[in-house]
């Protein structure tokens, strides 16, 4: 009888010890944040770390990564980490998702360094942590003069003269062979140490940051020049 009397307390204390320990641990512990990948905005170098397995991208404030760009749908896409790597899903966006300049249907596997375009928001996709990113970045910063970067293949075109033509015509400084590009599509020139762009396109118009230009427009660091499916990043 005496044993049972004490056993009641013991039993209670044992159970509570386990429960309290587990409960405390469950309530207290939280998974640490971890960056799985990075999206770098090619227009202005903003870094968007991807620290969830599924990351929504869009204009809505409910998205994990918010772009204010008007060509981005409210919920545009999802970047998801699956068993065999990263995927990007087009979640019925209006302007589509492009990976390396190809429009994706529903989903597309991502590789390190891929360029993803959400509408006209161009992103460079890096797998891994931020530290890796910085090293790559520094390499690029060595060049000092302004340049145009072809977003598709990362080839750079240094603006070392003061007059550059873009068009289908042979002999243009930047030659684009697509049919819809006019022979003389656009001109970029330097005036008082600033670079201006002027559009001469007939079939497709040249846009800067998604906006059509009607008169010579000054270029600023990070502007994206787009001609049809071709895009260039202006860097200083």
């Amino acid at each position: 009888m005496e044993l049972e009397y004490i056993m009641r307390y013991v039993l209670c204390i044992l159970a509570i010890a386990v429960i309290i320990n587990c409960v405390w641990s469950l309530v207290r512990l939280k998974p640490d944040k971890k960056v799985y990948a990075l999206l770098v905005d090619m227009a202005n170098d903003t870094q968007y770390p991807i620290n969830c397995y599924e990351t929504s991208v869009g204009r809505s404030r409910w998205c994990d990564i918010v772009f204010t760009n008007s060509t981005v749908s409210r919920s545009h896409a999802v970047v998801a980490l699956r068993k065999d790597g990263f995927y990007v899903f087009d979640t019925e966006s209006k302007t589509g998702v492009y990976v390396n300049n190809e429009k994706i249907v529903k989903k597309q596997k991502l590789e390190d360094g891929d360029i993803i375009a959400f509408g006209t928001a161009f992103m460079k996709f890096y797998i891994g942590s931020e530290a890796d990113r910085d090293i790559k970045h520094k390499k690029q910063e060595k060049v000092l003069c302004p340049r145009l970067v072809n977003i598709m293949d990362d080839t750079e075109f240094d603006l070392d003269g003061d007059y550059i033509t873009i068009g289908r015509e042979e002999g243009s400084n930047i030659e684009i062979s697509a049919k819809y590009v006019s022979r003389r599509q656009a001109e970029i020139y330097k005036e008082k140490n600033k670079w201006y762009i002027e559009d001469y396109g007939r079939v497709v118009k040249t846009t800067v940051n998604g906006e059509q230009i009607y008169s010579p427009t000054e270029l600023r660091d990070g502007d994206v020049i787009k001609i049809g499916d071709f895009a260039f990043l202006y860097e200083e």
Binding site: E4, Y5, M7, R8, Y9, V10, L11, C12, L14, A15, I16, A17, V18, I19, I20, N21, C22, V23, S25, L26, V27, R28, L29, K30, P31, D32, K33, Y36, A37, C52, Y53, E54, S56, G58, W62, S75, A77, V78, A80, L81, R82, K83, F89, T91, E92, K107, I127, G128, S129
Partner: protein
């Protein structure tokens, strides 16, 4: 890679304490049991303890898991329920043990099933069809027992399909983020939920119907965040409920004593008042396993089991049990952002919320803070289907923790 900040519980120590608890229960049970049932009890508790060790061994050594809090809680709660069953119905102890073992197997199976997100997303439609089919089958073939038509009998075994459907319901309701973003409409899920809840209503299993409805609300909210639609659904359900009460007054009669059970002391308030009387009789530390008197009341080990725990183990332990349900939900919520997919986040939160809701229906029901609906207390109540369901829900909760599965991360 240490996923969690801070340290997890020490598995070896906790396992030792849990074992100590179970062994103490075993000896207490043996001290009270009749000679012919002693073997039953030894087998039940013995096998249970062995399985528990086997599980933790497998998870720690083979799967190299780090966190075991969820399982420890599940094992402890199950052992409390098992002890009560073995004490009140020593004859049925082995049967209950088998259900527990199936439950643990289900726990492992569901974890495996959820491993591959594409597979489980693909399986949702067949699961949905099976779930509704099972409920419809029950509706047609079940016999009326205790005023509800929710049991089917297959060769001497009785199963409550609605318990298994709970798990299916949650899986069907959840989805990955890209699916949620591309298809915001809840229509399909609403139709599915309506089918399930409708079947349960026709079975007169209102408690379970309420749980399904609640789970539906939680899942829908997690999916869409659309408060307006949900408010509409709730109002509709409320009106529907009122209509049922108006046209089937005997349904209302079931809840007539709610709020003043002491006035219906020997009639419709019988179970509640006895639960309260014996709960307080136990005091903070209880009168000891096997010394209770509430066990003689009808459905003591199912609906009134909270009272039995209070009386025999004491109010403090009962409180700790309630706390553990809360902790599971907190765990799910805190991990939801870092889950491997929104599917797991929704599944875990819904499962934990379901358990908490069911626990509150049971506990507050027998203590007259809510109407008595006759649902079980997760893990503690006797009943095979119920315990299986609880273990499978645990798998859903466990899936929210990204450390549960070892693959899928980025190689570093």
């Amino acid at each position: 890679m240490n996923i969690l900040k801070g340290k997890n519980v020490n598995l070896a120590l906790m396992l030792f304490v849990v074992t100590l608890f179970e062994v103490t229960c075993l000896f207490t049970l043996l001290g009270k049991a009749e000679e012919q049932y002693k073997m039953n009890i030894i087998i039940t508790m013995g096998v249970y303890i062995l399985v528990q060790y086997a599980y933790f061994f497998g998870a720690k050594i083979i799967l190299k898991r780090k966190s075991f809090e969820v399982e420890l809680i599940a094992f402890l709660l199950t052992s409390i329920g098992l002890s009560i069953t073995a004490s009140v119905y020593p004859k049925l102890a082995v049967k209950q043990l088998i259900a527990v073992l199936i439950g643990i197997f289900g726990f492992i199976f569901v974890q495996w099933l959820l491993r591959d997100i594409d597979r489980i997303m693909f399986l949702r439609i067949p699961i949905a069809v099976c779930a509704v089919g099972l409920l419809a089958f029950t509706l047609v073939f079940a016999k009326l027992t205790n005023g509800a038509k929710n049991w089917i009998y297959i060769g001497g075994l009785s199963i409550q399909p609605s318990e298994l459907v709970k798990v299916a319901f949650i899986i069907v309701g959840a989805a990955t983020l890209e699916r949620l973003q591309s298809n915001r409409s809840l229509t399909k899920f609403i139709i599915f939920a309506l089918g399930c809840v409708g079947c349960l209503f026709l079975m007169y299993d209102f408690g379970t119907a309420l749980i399904f409805f609640f789970t539906f609300i939680v899942i829908s909210f997690m999916r869409s965040g659309d408060i307006r639609t949900l408010a509409l659904v709730c109002t509709g359900a409320f009106m529907g409920g009122l209509l049922v009460l108006m046209f089937k007054p005997y349904v209302a009669n079931r809840f007539a004593s709610f709020g003043h059970v002491w006035e219906y002391f020997d009639t419709s308030g019988f179970q509640q008042t006895r639960t309260m009387i014996y709960s307080t009789s136990g005091g903070l530390f209880g009168v000891g396993l096997g010394n209770g008197k509430l066990r003689d009341i009808y459905a003591a080990t199912e609906d009134l089991v909270f009272g039995v725990v209070c009386e025999e183990f004491g109010m403090i332990m009962a409180g700790a049990i309630l706390l553990s349900y809360v902790a599971l939900l907190v765990y799910s919520i805190r991990h939801s952002k870092y889950a491997r997919s929104s599917f797991y986040a929704i599944v875990a939160c819904a499962a934990a919320a379901l358990m908490l809701f069911q626990a509150s229906l049971n506990v507050f029901g027998v203590n007259d803070l809510l109407p008595l609906t006759g649902v079980t207390l997760p893990f503690i109540s006797r009943g095979g289907s119920s315990i299986m369901c609880c273990w499978m829900l645990m798998a859903l909760i466990k899936s929210v923790d990204r450390s549960t599965y070892r693959f899928g991360g980025v190689r570093q």
